[in-house]
Subunit: 203 residues, 2 copies
């Protein structure tokens, strides 16, 4: 079982080699990422024998392999629940589309938003969430609703067949074993920064 | 040296006990967070002797202690660079202010934005970044500019005395040893989800 940190680094290597020359060495990747060359080589060997010792990795080949490993060699339709300030920023963001992730279904429960469009995508009522997800066979969703709504929205998504959730709401979600949940909690990241600043002044 | 994951969990415990009763047990915290009770007790012992075995933790006391450890027992002025879609979502967000983090300085380099206000906060030119940061003794900053601008913005911030950076731009930043950098890379989190979905279907 490959550590999640290694998967994150693989995602980073993939993005970095998007603009790379024909051949790239682990030293060059180390220079670009700030990670150790040995770490990079180890991460890549989890997945196979890439590259030639002393020569480096053929970029086109590595790109293909990493895209296949990460599953980004195909488009993904993503459901977004909550088209507020954060939701709008996420839908406008080109960076996700560049890797094949399209927020193609938007749900909200605010009557003044339902039936509107955001960047050409219709805003649907969460009442039709389950049906819409199953019809389009959506497996991935983003939660961008207030904390108190997170748990019920997560349950609705899972009932609709969602198997992978990126959650921005500052709440603890309980999901079944076969559902992958990633929480991005920005407020907690801020408190990590204040922790380190406080430590630094105390020593 | 306490692992960064433990610091993240401490931030989570703090938020959870904000709404807690007078006394809370590690079992209750386990129920609320989905983390193991033993893990929780171990995390808390990094920082001192809290609570009474068999009885639990006094919430008011634990709140005070954790706020002090995390450094969120005081307000923090945060500089934001880049008031685009993501920047606006961040400034509007009440959740940061609830923990004492206020984005009180906003910088951008778009002439049509400079001199405007966002939610009552003036948008300043990045040309005056260094001076404004030093005048207000700002130590913490958020980077919400495009990837290609990230490195130069980071350098400007560090020259202006910033010691802690939360970076949303999908670029690798190099910072001195005394600067704490946290990267939030949402596109990479998406590729982790697609990795797990791809694994699930292959097994
Ligand atoms: N804005 C940020 O920068 C930021 C940062 C960190 C975390 N978050 C978190 O992200 C979430 C969204 O933040 P925001 O600033 O966009 O808030 P917001 O209030 O602007 O948007 C929330 C949206 O969710 C909708 N909504 C509420 N309940 C719903 C439900 N049951 N089903 C469907 N839609 C529902 C609302 O109608 C609204 O459109 C919150 O949980 C917040 O804590 C936001
Ligand atoms: N929008 C999202 O949901 C999202 C998600 C993940 C990552 N990101 C990343 O966050 C960053 C911001 O995204 P966005 O959607 O808000 O983009 P945006 O284009 O809406 O906003 C970028 C802002 O930065 C300003 N800017 C550009 N160069 C600058 C400089 N040198 N100094 C000061 N300001 C400068 C622009 O004028 C603009 O206001 C990007 O790096 C993006 O990759 C955004």
């Amino acid at each position: 079982k490959i550590p999640s940190d290694a998967i994150k680094r693989i995602g980073l290597y993939y993005r970095i080699i998007m603009d790379a020359q024909e051949v790239i060495s682990s030293e060059q990747l180390s220079e670009l990422t700030g990670l150790g060359a040995a770490q990079i080589r180890k991460d890549l060997t989890y997945f196979g024998q890439f590259g030639t010792p002393g020569k480096g990795y053929k970029v086109d080949q590595l790109k293909k392999e990493l895209a296949q490993i990460l599953g980004i060699n195909r488009p993904w339709d993503v459901a977004l629940v909550g088209i507020g300030n954060l939701g709008k920023a996420l839908v406008s963001y080109q960076g996700f589309k560049n890797q094949g992730f399209q927020m193609s279904l938007i749900f909200d429960n605010n009557p003044s938003k339902i039936g509107q469009e955001y960047q050409g995508v219709p805003i649907r009522s969460t009442a039709e969430l389950g049906e819409a997800l199953k019809t389009k066979n959506i497996q991935m969703a983003v939660i961008a609703v207030p904390a108190e709504e997170g748990p019920s929205v997560a349950n609705q998504l899972i009932e609709g067949g969602i198997k992978a959730i990126l959650n921005f709401a500052p709440c603890c979600l309980k999901v079944p074993k076969n559902v992958k949940l990633i929480n991005i909690d920005m407020a907690i990241e801020f408190s990590r920064l204040s922790y380190y600043l406080t430590q630094a002044t105390e020593h």
